[in-house]
């Protein structure tokens, strides 16, 4: 009995060895599955997190309202800005700066942004020899498209009177009632 078990396990071991060697030998004739990076760039998913941009709304206005939420939530404090206000009451960032040498591309700024202004893009090849060239100013960050959010225009929903809409003209907003006429 014992001897039979030994023979069986020995035969099994030899079989396993042969299968193993045959498998690696077959792999010799397969085409390597390596993607050769600089020559072939794998298309990345649209929601990959890399270089940050500031998008515009469909009407071409800047989406950023300089609310500081992104800079507050940023775990490495790489976002800084100065808020300002236009004559019609619309807020914007007087200057906006992201230090990509610090950025960890966590995407928390994008999640915090109430206006979908700040967005991460799949474009990740932004290495520089001089670290200071990684500090991006507003002109480097601002783009002329809507990014991943095509429709949204914050000021059409905001309830704030601007050139986009006066009080009561926004989407899902009713005209302001005359409080005094509501008296019984």
């Amino acid at each position: 009995m014992k001897r039979q078990e030994h023979t069986a396990s020995a035969i099994e071991a030899i079989k396993a060895l042969i299968t193993g060697f045959a498998t690696t030998f077959r792999h010799l004739f397969r085409k390597p599955i390596t993607e050769q990076y600089p020559e072939y760039k794998r298309p990345l998913p649209a929601r990959s997190r890399a270089r940050i941009i500031l998008t515009r709304d469909p009407d071409g206005g800047e989406r950023c309202v300089a609310c500081y939420l992104c800079s507050a939530v940023c775990p490495v404090s790489c976002i800084s800005m100065q808020s300002a206000e236009k004559e019609d009451g619309r807020r914007y960032a007087a200057w906006f700066r992201i230090n990509f040498a610090r950025c960890i591309y966590c995407g928390l700024c994008e999640e915090a942004c109430p206006t979908s202004a700040i967005q991460l893009t799949p474009e990740f090849e932004n290495c520089e020899k001089d670290i200071l060239t990684l500090v991006y100013e507003k002109k480097d960050l601002l783009v002329d498209h809507q990014g991943k959010e095509k429709e949204y225009n914050f000021y059409k929903y905001a309830g704030v009177a601007t050139d986009v809409g006066k009080k009561g003209e926004h989407i899902k907003e009713e005209r302001p009632v005359n409080v005094k006429s509501n008296l019984p």
């Binding site: 193993g20 690696t24 030998f25 792999h27 010799l28 390597p32 599955i33 390596t34």
Partner: protein
């Protein structure tokens, strides 16, 4: 006097050419291994430096030569510096007895194509092979690091155990050839290579040789997932390079020994003798790389059990059978 000087010059020239060839081959063996192993694993391997990555060994050599040679503060400085040289030189010196052709007639002189035809060539090889263990053990001990020490101890234990089966597996060859001289052993294989009559010895020798050269599946001394890099954890720059070189020269030597003892050495049709030896060495190296690409690392107790409980008894049995057949 003149003949003495001429002989000496020829010896130096032979050694120089062989040394150059060995070092170049070692560098390109690394390239071959990386390339072949990559293909076994469905990768490309090095392909950036030069065509097919052929300049990779040169780039690696330059890198190792220019890197900082760090000696840890707690290390035993003298032994630490000496150990890599022991590994590299013993591996290189083993080639002195490997014949790479019969002989050449040069300026009316008969030049044998072997550095030296020792009548105990096989014993010389084993002696140097055992000395190589000292390099590993010394390097592991002198680094004064626990990983290195464990690697060194494992290396010493493993290589001593496998030296036994390595030696015992060759006794039948010596019995068949009636000589310890490697030149005589090759000459005896004029009609047929010894692998045909000693397949068992061949298998034992191959397994022991892989353990002796510390390659996967027997790379416990440098098991990178447990020991960092084992006995050469603390080494950097060209000293690490020497360990690396020693390992690949060892691979060549063992390939050459397999070729010389079992595959008929430099004998072969059509092509010149040294080329045949070269082809056989590369063939053995490719098989070893194939094994590396297939098998996982053995556990320490499995390694010891395989050496002491399987290979040595089988080798002894082989000796008895060969002896009985020779008597009849």
């Amino acid at each position: 006097m003149l003949t003495w000087i001429a002989g000496f010059t020829i010896l130096i020239a032979k050694s120089g050419i062989l040394l150059l060839f060995l070092l170049l081959l070692a560098a390109y063996l690394v390239w071959l291994e990386r390339k072949f192993l990559a293909r076994l694993q469905v990768r490309y391997g090095p392909n950036r430096a030069g065509k097919f990555g052929l300049l990779q060994p040169i780039a690696d050599t330059i890198k190792m030569l220019t890197k900082e040679d760090i000696v840890p503060a707690a290390a035993d400085r003298f032994i630490f510096l000496l150990a890599p040289a022991v590994v590299a030189t013993t591996a290189l010196m083993m080639f002195a007895v490997v014949p790479f052709g019969s002989h050449l007639t040069l300026f009316g002189r008969n030049v044998p194509l072997v550095i030296t035809d020792l009548n105990v060539g096989l014993l010389y090889v084993f002696a140097l092979s055992s000395l190589g263990v000292y390099g590993v053990a010394m390097g592991g001990w002198a680094s004064n690091s626990k990983y290195s020490l464990l690697g060194g101890i494992r290396g010493a234990a493993q290589m001593i155990s496998y030296e036994l089966s390595l030696g015992l597996s060759l006794i039948p060859i010596v019995m068949l050839a009636d000589s310890f001289s490697i030149v005589d052993i090759v000459n005896r294989q004029e009609k047929y290579p010894f692998i045909l009559v000693q397949p068992l010895a061949f298998i034992i020798f191959m397994i022991s040789a892989m353990a002796e050269s510390k390659r996967i599946p027997f790379d416990l001394p440098e098991a990178e997932n447990e020991l960092g890099a084992g006995y050469h954890t603390e080494y950097s720059g060209i000293r690490f390079g020497l360990f690396f070189l020693g390992e690949y020269v060892h691979l060549q030597v063992l390939g050459a020994l397999v070729a010389v003892l079992f595959l008929g050495g430099w004998r072969g049709p059509v092509l010149p003798a040294p080329l045949w030896l070269f082809i056989k060495i590369i063939f053995v190296a490719l098989i070893m790389i194939w094994v590396r690409g297939t098998l996982p690392r053995l556990r320490y107790d499995q390694l010891m059990a395989l050496g002491w409980k399987v290979l040595i008894p089988v080798a002894l049995l082989n000796i008895m059978i060969t002896g009985a057949v020779l008597l009849l």
